[in-house]
Point group: C2
Chain length 485, copies 2
């Protein structure tokens, strides 16, 4: 395929994508396929000779689409949103066309510099403390990671190196292995599984801090565990605070936790993967109060800020902390400007070496929506979740299981976990909408997350009527079965 | 921006990308900008109100392009190639449009299943042993990682968990910390820095195995270090063999190393990031002989197989080894089909949780080039590197520093490192072509890598004439200065 054919096919693909997104509502949100469906539809091995674009193109509807879960359908209420917008898609096309690999400043200066400046823009939108911004010669700054998992891991690795060095300088008799064996990291028992995973990867012990009845970790809960662990000879090094937990969107109390971490030399990382986008609205910014105590902060514009996956924004107060955790410099990666102080080589900030020109997506989205357009998007989603909450509250068979603050509603039938599992099963088997569950303590709970960019009040109403009707049917047979037993 | 405007703007972007790639030769391969150039060109913060697409679009040439290193220019001979092709760009547009996040089978069955089958296609193209393929019910299989760095890290983590369990079952008195402190991983002293980094991240000690005069690690070199380390009470767990080292594209001797690793319970991972693509040509497949002894194998189609970044292909013989290193299962990530045995949940195979629908790029590229088209691409690059090699050999001022096997030529002026540094400086300051250096033992060496999809014999000839002329000018002043001193 040459450039001439690409012009033609590229435009056909633009239309296909536009059609797909315009009419996505008409597709069944969750596919009918069974595991292994695809293998039987395609050849056993790659063709020896080239096939035409037409051949490949017609297989999209035949082979791919029947197995797609449509994340951007307005009937998709599962997990958390995965962002998508037209400006981001345009930027991604440009990113692919340029196709640079921006691991160092020299490998493509624009790729590195736009990222630094875009993270400053975004940091200012969140009103992050000045220390987190790169500015012209700041000690901090932002970076785009692939996912919140990587951000947490990178923060933990930086904390590990920093703590080992500090403890060794205070106790020269201790070996690195001695110290490693005594390190301990913490997060809420409501934190995302990626935090435990980061600990697993880095070989650091991890402990859960019990959240309170509102699924929030407060200062005293952390303090209690810290005191016990220090008395037992452990070395606390890292606390991951969560703003907007995955099960129910609860918020740890930064203003209590931050000062404790600072006093105890514990790296405080904030994981606001989903909720962070909301902090661009002044009315939600208060959840971030206390970020001034943190060492690093992360949220995912690819969740709720209309920037397509992947774009996970991370800031640190001291970039040197990240760099020291990683820096290795073979000659083929060195370049002339390296020691000028103005230069950022992002490969020292992340797990992979290579990186795409992802900041283009931020640049397009922030400019073409403007701060006000993005605030509107957030507010619409919050409004819709409250609409759903009100519908649930009007039906006394149901209960709301956690305070509804942003775009997530946790709800269930008043009744057993088995009953609620049966309800979820009937919802997901009907495939008119798609939800996933969570556990809140001993309770099996249904999560209703406002996800799609194009979801409107009518979709939410439809979803509720559908759930309510399935509940009626379920309760009828459930009571009969119960009665018979 | 709505779908109607996206249709218009998307087509303009297709034309922009086509123009960019068609005329890339006319752009200076390496930019003129100085560090910090971009900040002064754009506002301090994001706009409150939306800007138009036109406003953003015109800034691409004004702000971005002046700072781009043009990786797809036929005058780009630095690092290793970063793949780009029109079919891959089309697939990436589709990937963005679908915008699913395929962390589990249920999150988008097509995303998971196409990946499994494409990795089988690719594995068959390389003639990988059957054990590495997923097939209908295999124990092994492939996964797309973001980068070779992540593949190495994931392999090392799997080895770590497996070894700790084995050693603990044999020596119940040892704690995990005891074992961790004694683990040791190995790679060639020519291996990529990402291997050392993987060890750093996972907290495992790393040792270099000295390569021989041809920059190759042979069995006896590994054996010697292993014997010493075992005698000192260490526990060897991992060896990363490199096929196609970054400095000079040398190949470790798998057929000698593999049996040693198998006998010693050492996980052998093969990093063929660059060279792996060449193994689809029968004449280069012999470098992979011995892969049957490996536990995991990785190469980057995003380097040399015309699939745009990111697409790093990794295979394991036992998928359970990866999964055991990672598996954590919160309720919101569970789904009905989970335990059916047919299901792959790729989040257990990788560091991040989220993942794009990257296998679409493989599907488009493998079908629209066909195996033969891809073989042609590899063979053209190898031909061009030999052309450059011959040009160098005809000039007795120069020497070739390592055997030219694939698309990389390591060369230098016969003379001091300072002389060669001066030559590289004059080449990169002229900005007609772009190269990066390496060290081979004590020698500072220039690397000439055939990179662009569109590079032809004329570009290689031009590059050589240019280098040769700069060398003539340099040697003149160099000798004068030398004479004066």
């Amino acid at each position: 395929m040459d450039a001439t054919e690409f012009r033609k096919r590229g435009k056909e693909m633009v239309d296909y994508v536009a059609d797909y997104l315009e009419k996505i509502e008409k597709r069944q949100v969750f596919p009918d396929v069974e595991p292994g469906y695809l293998r039987s539809l395609i050849p056993d091995c790659a063709p020896q000779d080239p096939e035409s674009f037409e051949d490949v193109f017609k297989d999209i509807e035949k082979i791919i689409m029947p197995g797609v879960t449509h994340w951007h359908s307005p009937y998709f209420f599962a997990y958390f949103p995965s962002a998508s917008s037209f400006p981001a898609l345009l930027a991604d096309m440009l990113c692919g066309g340029i196709g640079c690999v921006g691991f160092s400043w020299a490998a493509s200066p624009a790729c590195t510099e736009l990222e630094t400046v875009m993270l400053d823009w975004l940091g200012k939108m969140l009103n992050l403390p000045e220390e987190f911004l790169a500015g012209k010669d700041g000690q901090g700054g932002g970076v785009i990671q692939g996912s919140a998992s990587e951000a947490t891991l990178v923060a933990l690795l930086a904390a590990r190196t920093k703590t080992i060095r500090r403890v060794q300088s205070e106790n020269p008799e201790l070996t690195e292995a001695d110290i490693m064996g005594r390190l301990v990291a913490y997060a809420s028992d409501q934190a995302h599984s990626s935090v435990e995973r980061a600990a697993l990867i880095s070989g650091v012990k991890m402990k859960s801090i019990p959240a309170d009845d509102t699924f929030t970790v407060c200062g005293s809960a952390l303090k209690k565990v810290l005191d016990e662990d220090k008395a037992a000879g452990l070395i606390p090094l890292f606390f991951c605070a969560t703003l907007g937990t995955t099960p129910c969107c609860s918020f740890d109390k930064l203003l209590e936790l931050g000062p404790i971490c600072n006093k105890e030399n514990i790296w405080m990382h904030i994981d606001a993967a989903y909720a962070g986008s909301a902090f661009i609205c002044p009315e939600f910014r208060h959840f971030l109060n206390g970020v001034e105590f943190a060492d690093s902060f992360n949220f995912n514009p690819h969740k709720w800020l209309l920037v397509n996956f992947d774009c996970s924004a991370m800031w640190v107060k001291k970039r040197s902390d990240l760099i020291c955790a990683f820096k290795l410099e073979p000659l083929y990666l060195q370049h002339d400007h390296q020691e000028s102080g103005l230069i950022t080589d992002y490969r020292h900030w992340q797990i992979p070496l290579g990186r795409r020109f992802r900041s283009l997506k931020l640049w397009f989205v922030l400019r073409m929506y403007g701060v006000k357009g993005l605030q509107e998007h957030i507010r619409k989603h919050v409004r819709l979740s409250h609409q759903f909450e009100h519908l649930v509250l009007q039906d006394e068979r149901f209960e709301i299981c956690a305070e509804v603050v942003l775009g997530l509603v946790c709800f269930r039938l008043k009744g057993s976990n088995e009953l609620n599992k049966a309800l979820l099963k009937s919802i997901n088997e009907a495939k008119k909408i798609h939800l996933v569950p969570c556990h809140l303590r001993e309770k099996f709970v249904l999560r209703f997350a406002i996800c799609s960019r194009t979801v409107e009040s009518t979709h939410v109403k439809f979803a509720w009527q559908h759930i309510s009707q399935l509940a009626t049917e379920l309760l009828k047979t459930w009571e009969q079965n119960h009665h018979q037993q």
